[in-house]
Symmetry: C3
Amino acid sequence: MSTSPADTGTTGVLEGVPLLDHHCHGVTTADLDRSDFESLLTESDWPAPEGTTHLDSQVGFAVRRHCAPVLDLAPFATADQYLRRRCDLGGKDVSERLLRASGMSDLFIETGHRADEILDPVGMAAASGARVFEIVRLERLAEELVGSGCGPADFRAAYDRLLDDRLRTAVGVKSIAAYRVGLDVVTERPDPARVDEAVAAWRADVAGGAPVRLADATIIGHLLWAAVDRGCAIQFHIGYGDADVDLHRCNPLLLTEFLRASRVSGARVFLLHCYPFHREAGYLAHVFPHVYLDVGLAINYTGSRSDEVIAESLELAPFHKLLFSSDAFGAAELFYLGALLFRRGLDRALATFADRDGWPASECRRVAEMVAWRNARRAYRLDDARVAPAAAAATSGPLSDGPR
Amino acid sequence: MSTSPADTGTTGVLEGVPLLDHHCHGVTTADLDRSDFESLLTESDWPAPEGTTHLDSQVGFAVRRHCAPVLDLAPFATADQYLRRRCDLGGKDVSERLLRASGMSDLFIETGHRADEILDPVGMAAASGARVFEIVRLERLAEELVGSGCGPADFRAAYDRLLDDRLRTAVGVKSIAAYRVGLDVVTERPDPARVDEAVAAWRADVAGGAPVRLADATIIGHLLWAAVDRGCAIQFHIGYGDADVDLHRCNPLLLTEFLRASRVSGARVFLLHCYPFHREAGYLAHVFPHVYLDVGLAINYTGSRSDEVIAESLELAPFHKLLFSSDAFGAAELFYLGALLFRRGLDRALATFADRDGWPASECRRVAEMVAWRNARRAYRLDDARVAPAAAAATSGPLSDGPR
Amino acid sequence: MSTSPADTGTTGVLEGVPLLDHHCHGVTTADLDRSDFESLLTESDWPAPEGTTHLDSQVGFAVRRHCAPVLDLAPFATADQYLRRRCDLGGKDVSERLLRASGMSDLFIETGHRADEILDPVGMAAASGARVFEIVRLERLAEELVGSGCGPADFRAAYDRLLDDRLRTAVGVKSIAAYRVGLDVVTERPDPARVDEAVAAWRADVAGGAPVRLADATIIGHLLWAAVDRGCAIQFHIGYGDADVDLHRCNPLLLTEFLRASRVSGARVFLLHCYPFHREAGYLAHVFPHVYLDVGLAINYTGSRSDEVIAESLELAPFHKLLFSSDAFGAAELFYLGALLFRRGLDRALATFADRDGWPASECRRVAEMVAWRNARRAYRLDDARVAPAAAAATSGPLSDGPR
């Protein structure tokens, strides 16, 4: 097999650069069987068709290539060999190996999804050695309130209190409006009277036995605008995810009206993942001063093709608007691959630009640091004196040093 | 001109791999003049502007580069030289040369489009040496029924019988809902009473002199759900085609609701062509266990750029969900180019992955075989004992051998 | 840093090829301060966030890399060094240096946007040495009429006269329907009575103190169809621009109905910029004989990534349908970069095709000339005896020679 010199170009500027993962979740430390493991390495909610495996995919090949050596196996060990070794070592050891090998300095963990199955922030800090900050899922707050009996008379006030309380420690919030109602209905601030009516209707549904699941556009709009009023860092799920999304309603351009209306608020908006709409997201980050993006999730799931996805994210988006995330959930492999593929892809993109246009190494390094951690620190205001990690391992350095 | 080493990398793993073209049409054996030939090498319904030619395009250059040598001409013979030689050899000889040089082992031929101008399955098997299987166009079945006087009282029962009859030999069905009504209206199963009403209205139009052309969303929905009920392999035209489509209504994401509703039926859904929505199609193939895709048509029409289109199709789509097709119609050149450009593009994508991530040759070969023919055989259930080719040349090997 | 041989391949066929920029604006000759300069090098309407700069972007790096040497600075001079040198030389000298270094032979200047801040066609011809042709902005004509008191009784007749008058010298018209109403409402010819009603309503708004800004779909439809009736060359803003656009309403596919209805009129339609919908635009240029496209604007703003954008525009679009534009406005840097990056990107795309498929140098040269100027001359009918430049410098050669 001949080599492809275009791909071997590297700048080396990512070496030793810390990595701030501004959107991820906890990992499991359970011993995973084949079926559990496959389900954590796909966005599909179902098994692969008979005779096939979810691991015959970019992410599956990336695990076999890159994670196998972390578990002392040869690259491209078979899936069965990998799973056997994973069980032999034990889920806890494997997760720590992979997390620590990822070299992340800071993790922003969103805690609203299947929290009982995965490590909490304290556990993640201990397992990874990274500082951990918390991101609050807005829809989850509303579900907590309505699930515990909160009705239209007190919902808005109770939500205000709960949000304020959580923001004492959290560095930002996240919305899954894309999953629940589609981004096309996220627009102007909703009328309070209509919010109350919607809460009453939801409460009645729940009283009638419906699951406590928020899928009302008016209420979600209210949650978002309360966050805007507080000048929050607001993350939005954008683009692809599991089979629950209507992907054509997850195009970030559908947020244009919301972005216009929120521009002067002090809030900052973080468009997560974005694939296959990352060019559209880059446009929004270009024209709106408060909009940021990453291509997390897509990096892991496009594997050997992630170089191209990362390079495409470096078109319209200013270099001070791009962030890194892994969107890892459950399998520690996704942290390790997210970090490895991101470092590699950004490095190769910079090497190409250096080759084409003579970008100096100092400028490549500066852009790399911006994307790897500096943009996130600035945009989330981590240097604000009131911000402290939700959890940090004994080995974590002082925050004032910046990411290690 | 300097060489581009990145492009010269090949794995060689496609050598000798059979090719199953799961979506194509018959070819003409007529002697084509310049105008006829140009019209077969474009999706445009009109001549090129004065002073220009449809052959100044990727597909036109690919014909001159790759097909000219099959006709004993030098690469990049002029279009006139090519047409003269094509006439000298005669349409029948040229078509056989190109079909046989394509090295296809199996062809799934859709017979519902301009069938009187092209070879039928038996003719295609004879001309190509490949086994031929039939795909039935659903809208055409309904048009046959209503065109021969079938009305609302008996349409549904007659359609059931006709579909069952055709499925005795066909391996799947195809819908051109994208052309006729747009994919946004293909959703849940329509109410039978509404189907009958729509048939009555259509029948009245036809009685009043309108052409027998099905463009009613309710009826098309009925045709599709009858196929779902039978657990069929269902092909959908997706993405670009001729000027008759509203391309923004051909985005495969518009099928999301239909895919959710049909997931447990046993039916499999094949998204054809998909360009420029192949990344969106890859997402659907990733999350829905019964969804497959190809980038046929786009391969031929992007020519020297088809490497990139093929590589882009290898992102979210699991490797067991990608198929090969040429979507060739009329000109045998499109079979030859479809096969050549697909083999080359897949090989180069695999070579890049091998270079970036050390994919072993055995894994490259396994992925190549999956995409080239194994996925189609599995997904269309060709190994089911009841399935036999509609036509096979005397030189075709036994089906139980798998593709030659 | 290792080199990337794939990118160093060039055909050399662009050397000495003239460049016809079919869509641009005038430049300023003012001495620009940092803030003014930054605002001309972004599509954002606002300053970059505190602690950041719009010049940390592809276009900012391209200026530092490629424009600095034109001002006698080393590549990658800092932004401050660049601005200081720019002021020392003076805005007039800098603009002339950059314009002349761009090597453009012909400029089609659209004069309807902030005309008081930039050079007019005569000034542009003098500063650049190029021939200058005028493009008329349709919405501006209507605004002139209604702003000067024209009401529903005489609007249509007055517009007819004004358009005819302007077309005596202009080579085409442009519409910003995408900005004002979205492309989804540009369809069939509107009813004259509805046009009159809409003009009356607009006139009343203006009389009531509203700014004279046309944002009515019916009136814009009328302006467009009057241009269609005259068989004009009609440019459409497509795809990205500033924060004023709803980008999801700027997809060129939304024009499909308009394109079908205007196909036989003799009018030609030019889709400008198109990013990130350039593949969709390529489809329209493929199937509709009267549709053309460029990827101007995106070339400048994607900088080191413009090679990929240009290559992507060479897929479905026939080679006789692609044009060059810079869409430069205000900063002469955008002319220089537009020309440089276009020449480089087209050359590299052709080098890749030559490498992959042996495109002969003569064919590469022919395609390069088509895209660089021949397609525009043919499609805009510049060789029609009645067409003369609106302005030409003393150094401009005779028109009958074709571009220099």
